[in-house]
């Protein structure tokens, strides 16, 4: 498993802490929504960064109130067919203003990377020996987009008229 963040292969400094395991005393950790809800005081007062892992049925609104204390949100794709995390990602970025790391985990396939990136993910756990190459290729397959989305690529609906205005 490789982690690609902002297009670079990076070492993952984060530790996933299972619900039945005691919190380590230091270091960046990722916990479940349930853990966040039950241990919120302890987690909020940690000196090191805290991340939350949301299952695909868990909503952005579940963590909205404490988002300023959260540095990373990992959104699960249990299968490539389950597309709920695309909406969750956009809501976190666009409605709740989340600026930390938004990580795609689980069944993260090459052919979905562009969609994920457009919805605001900036980190991807990719099961590939050539994760960075894969990511770069996925980003290069298309150069024009119809919809405005989280990534702020200018959609063609605007480009057409920006160009005309410049002429």
């Amino acid at each position: 498993m490789a982690l690609v963040k902002d297009g670079q292969a990076v070492q993952d400094p984060w530790i996933n802490v299972a619900d039945n395991v005691e919190l380590p005393s230091s270091g960046p950790i990722i916990v479940s929504l349930a853990r966040w809800q039950t241990d919120r005081d302890a987690l909020s007062s940690r000196a090191d960064p805290v991340g939350i892992r949301l299952a695909s049925h868990e909503a952005a609104s579940d963590i909205a109130s404490g988002l300023n204390r959260i540095s990373l949100v990992a959104l699960e794709f249990p299968t490539f067919r389950d597309g709920r995390a695309y909406s969750t990602a956009r809501l976190l970025r666009e409605r709740y203003g989340f600026t930390g790391e938004l990580r795609a985990v689980g069944n993260v396939l090459y052919d979905q990377l562009m969609f994920m990136h457009r919805c605001g993910f900036d980190a991807f756990e990719i099961a590939s020996d050539e994760a960075v190459e894969s990511w770069q290729k996925a980003m290069s397959e298309f150069s024009a987009w119809y919809q405005p989305a989280t990534d702020r690529r200018t959609p063609v609906t605007a480009l057409r008229h920006l160009r005309r205005a410049a002429e």
Partner: protein, 551 residues
């Protein structure tokens, strides 16, 4: 008609390159069939009973003559000289080789066509009234919004992995010819009290194993907010639609389970955040797209063409065709011409390469180079001068495209059924063929009048049987094909789901049963009653009695 600019062309070309790479990975064995499946489905490529099947989108049912010629060319070069027009305004090729599919898509891209999202759990090809831009009864040309939706839904980053497939249909007219109430979202154009056009937005319609009529989410949506409102509906569906059971994953189940009030409340709440953001199309972009659908410059003519009237008096066969295959055009002296793809004994919706090429030529000669594809699996030449109708009819006759049966008992919608489809549980095409052979007397067909028969070869209802005036559903009972018959379905603005008339009929008996139903109607109808009127007045009983009374 809409023409691609460099951006549209870039997106379609890049899609072809992407798919060429995916096919190469499959052919080299790098991808297994299982891994390839979701990728090919995003491009309309199915694995059917005997071969791959490629489904090509005909957005909102509009084709240019150039595009139609290319469809013919693809049929000749890569298939068996024919194509199949479907109920979703697509064309299907039944026999392509996998290795050829990227080349087919490239050929299509050259004429501004594609197979984007004609399958998979995403927003499918948007469908519309086939008489758009020509019908006298429309408020606005629905294709403007069809093209806006086509672009918005193409490779949508958030809505490409929905719980299930998602179909949107639009009508610009109060008379619904696009069956919008049996779609995931139905859009019906209307004017508000201030005379401004907008949409009634309906959701949760559909057929399949749980047929539902769409319910109104919003009675009037200003048209400039179309995309933000669609985005709000899709987001609610993406987040809350069921994913535990594929048979309960369509939006109709969500709307049914939480109720239209709660569903609408969720949509409105979501929309409150999106309304007026950049999701809504910039005004200048709406103007740009609208300009592509400017009405053709048709000659100003008197309301009636004396030549047309004379020909009808002189030639009874022409008069018969003109009575049912024409529809009023908004420009005086013109007509909308329906080309029947339902000849006696034919396969509903099939057209040969030769027919497609001839239709392209005829559209250039008589109809501004424009052709339409209908959800009832026929073709349309939308802008024909009345004075040209006789010559056009003669050409269509020689091509086998002038069967005078549009809207009548032999104008049958049928899915491919067990002859092609891997989901089917019974044959449907041969049932349609046998019905057309039984009703081979055209005078009788005209006497019976408006009657829509729709046949599906399995419970997925691709043949729209739920909304057939007479619906026929093929089922498998212990290895034998049986046919369940429903009456009273309706796909129009008065949409209704048909009711099962009684025990199913065998393959041998089903055509007799249809004939009994038709005869019962003819015997009991009162002056001027159509089949649906008689059914509304009498209900199932008289039909039941004739069908089962003696058993």
């Amino acid at each position: 008609m809409y023409r691609y600019d460099e951006f549209d062309q870039t997106i379609v070309d890049q899609r072809v390159s992407q798919f060429r790479d995916q096919v190469a990975r499959r052919l080299s064995g790098e991808l297994s069939e299982d891994e390839f499946k979701p990728l090919r489905l995003m491009n309309g490529l199915y694995l059917q009973l005997h071969a791959y099947m490629l489904r090509v989108a005909i957005p909102y049912g509009t084709l240019s003559s150039r595009q139609m010629r290319r469809l013919a060319d693809v049929a000749r070069r890569y298939d068996k000289d024919y194509g199949h027009f479907t109920t979703r305004q697509n064309i299907q090729y039944n026999w392509p080789e996998l290795k050829d599919v990227p080349d087919i898509l490239l050929d299509l891209a050259e004429v501004e066509m594609h197979a984007f999202q004609t399958s998979g759990n995403c927003i499918r090809n948007v469908t519309a009234d086939q008489f758009a831009g020509a019908a006298a009864d429309e408020i606005e040309d629905p294709r403007i919004y069809g093209e806006i939706i086509r672009q918005w839904s193409t490779l949508h980053p958030e809505f490409s992995f929905l719980p299930r497939k998602f179909k949107i249909a639009i009508t610009g007219s109060p008379n619904d010819r696009a069956a919008v109430k049996v779609h995931d979202i139905g859009l019906r154009m209307l004017l508000n009290d201030d005379g401004e056009p907008g949409f009634e937005v309906m959701a949760g319609g559909g057929q399949g194993r749980t047929p539902m009529i769409a319910k109104t989410v919003r009675a009037f949506l200003p048209k400039e907010h179309l995309l933000s409102y669609l985005e709000a509906i899709l987001r609610v569906y993406n987040m809350y639609g069921r994913r535990d059971n594929m048979y309960k994953a369509r939006i109709k189940i969500l709307v049914h389970e939480i109720g239209i009030e709660e569903f609408s409340a969720k949509v409105e709440e979501e929309w409150a955040h999106m309304k007026g953001t950049s999701v809504d199309l910039p005004e200048e972009e709406e103007h740009r797209i609208r300009a592509h659908f400017a009405p053709p410059l048709l000659e100003v003519l008197p309301m009636y063409s004396p030549e047309f009237e004379d020909r009808k008096r002189e030639d009874a066969a022409f008069a018969r065709w003109a009575r049912v295959n024409l529809f009023p055009h908004k420009t005086p002296g013109h007509a909308i011409v329906n080309l029947s793809l339902k000849p006696e004994g034919g396969v509903p919706g099939d057209a040969t390469a030769e027919q497609m090429e001839a239709v392209a030529d005829l559209s250039d000669q008589y109809s501004q180079g424009e052709i339409r594809v209908t959800h009832e699996q026929n073709l349309v030449l939308p802008h024909v001068k009345q004075a040209d109708l006789y010559a056009l009819w003669q050409s269509l006759e020689s091509l086998g495209l002038a069967t005078p049966n549009v809207g009548l008992v032999t104008d049958i919608i049928s899915c491919p059924g067990m002859d092609y489809c891997s989901l089917a549980t019974a044959r449907s095409i041969p049932v349609a063929q046998r019905i057309t052979e039984r009703f081979d007397d055209i005078a009788r067909v005209h006497d019976v009048g408006d009657l829509k028969i729709k046949i599906s070869g399995c419970i997925n209802a691709c043949g729209h049987h739920h909304v057939g005036h007479i619906g026929i559903l093929g089922v498998d009972k212990k290895g034998e094909e049986f046919y369940q018959v429903t009456l009273g379905g309706d796909a129009s603005e008065n949409a209704a789901i048909g009711k099962i008339v009684g025990p199913a009929f065998s393959y041998d008996d089903v055509v007799d049963a249809v004939e009994t139903i038709v005869n019962t109607y003819v015997e009991t109808r009162e002056d001027g009653e159509r089949f649906l009127d008689t059914y509304a007045r009498l209900g199932l009983e008289p039909f039941k009695e004739k069908l089962y009374g003696t058993r």
